[in-house]
């Protein structure tokens, strides 16, 4: 059985995976970001949010992304910025939902190297003003702030660990999964 200290250390490792994956993803879309832990969400008049759940044996939770609409517009691939739906609520939620999907995919790829293969849900998105997110009633939760020229992106990691859950050490013999942008033909 793991202690509370073990669980806290595991949560720190999961957060490190999330932060690394976030940097990689934003970089891939041309957005330079500066990370700082925690931080309080400003009460924006408008915000877009995406959440994706995950679950593995002994571990479950969610990843939440929240930011302002104009930041989401900056994340949108350049080739799509001239479309008729630019700035529409549906388009903004779709873009952030796909980013949440790609972010959790990158986190999963990092966990695969440790022998952990969580199942991923599909994203749920919404937009509105003065969105408030309650802290989960169980498990651990932490906010991560990514500052860019366009504005702030907040990423929350929620994780509930079973008492017997231990994050396996990195397995050197495991062949790393394909990296983002790579392909294989069968």
């Amino acid at each position: 059985m793991s202690t509370l200290k073990d669980q806290a250390e595991t949560f720190v490792e999961l957060r490190e995976c999330l932060v690394a994956a976030s940097h990689e993803l934003f970089d891939a879309y041309g957005m330079k970001t500066q990370y700082s832990p925690g931080g309080a969400i400003d009460p924006w008049s408008d915000a877009v949010m995406a959440v994706i759940g995950y679950a593995a044996e002994g571990l479950r939770g969610a990843v939440v992304l929240i930011t302002a609409p104009h930041v989401v517009e900056q994340l949108r691939p350049e080739v799509l910025r001239l479309g008729s739906d630019v700035g529409s609520d549906l388009a903004l939620r779709d873009v952030l939902g796909e980013f949440a999907n790609m972010l959790i995919g990158r986190v999963k790829n990092k966990l695969l190297a440790r022998g952990l293969a969580p199942l991923l849900a599909t994203p749920t998105t919404f937009s509105g003003s003065e969105i408030q997110l309650p802290v989960p009633r169980s498990g651990m939760s932490a906010w991560h702030r990514f500052s860019s020229e366009a504005g702030e992106i907040y990423v929350r990691l929620d994780a509930t660990l079973d008492a017997n859950f231990i994050l396996p050490p990195r397995q050197e013999h495991v062949v790393p999964p394909l990296a983002e942008g790579e392909m294989v033909m069968f």
């Binding site: 891939a28 879309y29 949108r76 691939p77 080739v79 799509l80 479309g83 739906d85 549906l90 388009a91 779709d94 873009v95 939902g97 796909e98 999907n101 790609m102 959790i104 995919g105 990158r106 999963k108 790829n109 695969l112 293969a117 991923l120 849900a121 599909t122 062949v175 999964p177 394909l178 990296a179 983002e180 942008g181 790579e182 392909m183 294989v184 033909m185 069968f186």
Partner: protein, 125 residues
């Protein structure tokens, strides 16, 4: 006549990116927003290649692949997976169900076009 390609992905952004890349290379692109939508649109569509996401609501990509694998009329349909998933077990599952390739998002447009040209040429031969 333009070769038809279907993209099945629950993200409009991804569908638009795929459409932009493939339409620019001369393909005709049909969109489906999940596996069930793709299955209903594939019938009589003349699609030569399916670009298929894995994690989708209603029917996911691997469920659709399994459904197609059981139907003789789709024996010549080439399928390439386009997903954030890189889990080897899922890739093996897709391969066993007849998928021809696996691309991890985000994709490079020229990479997707090259794959589409290769797989549709094979299908047409």
């Amino acid at each position: 006549m333009q070769t038809k390609i279907m993209v099945a992905d629950d993200s409009q952004m991804v569908r638009q990116q795929v459409r932009s890349a493939l339409a620019g290379a001369g393909f005709s692109v049909i969109e489906a927003h999940d596996g069930a939508d793709a299955l209903s649109k594939l019938d009589q569509s003349g699609v030569a290649l399916l670009v298929l996401d894995v994690n989708m609501p209603n029917m996911n990509g691997l469920e659709l692949l399994e459904a197609l694998h059981k139907k003789d009329e789709y024996a010549k349909l080439a399928v390439v997976m386009l997903t954030t998933e890189g889990q080897p077990k899922l890739m093996q599952q897709a391969k066993a169900l007849g998928a021809k390739g696996w691309i991890i998002k985000p994709f490079k447009p020229e990479q997707l076009v090259a794959v589409a040209q290769k797989l549709t040429a094979t299908t047409a031969a």
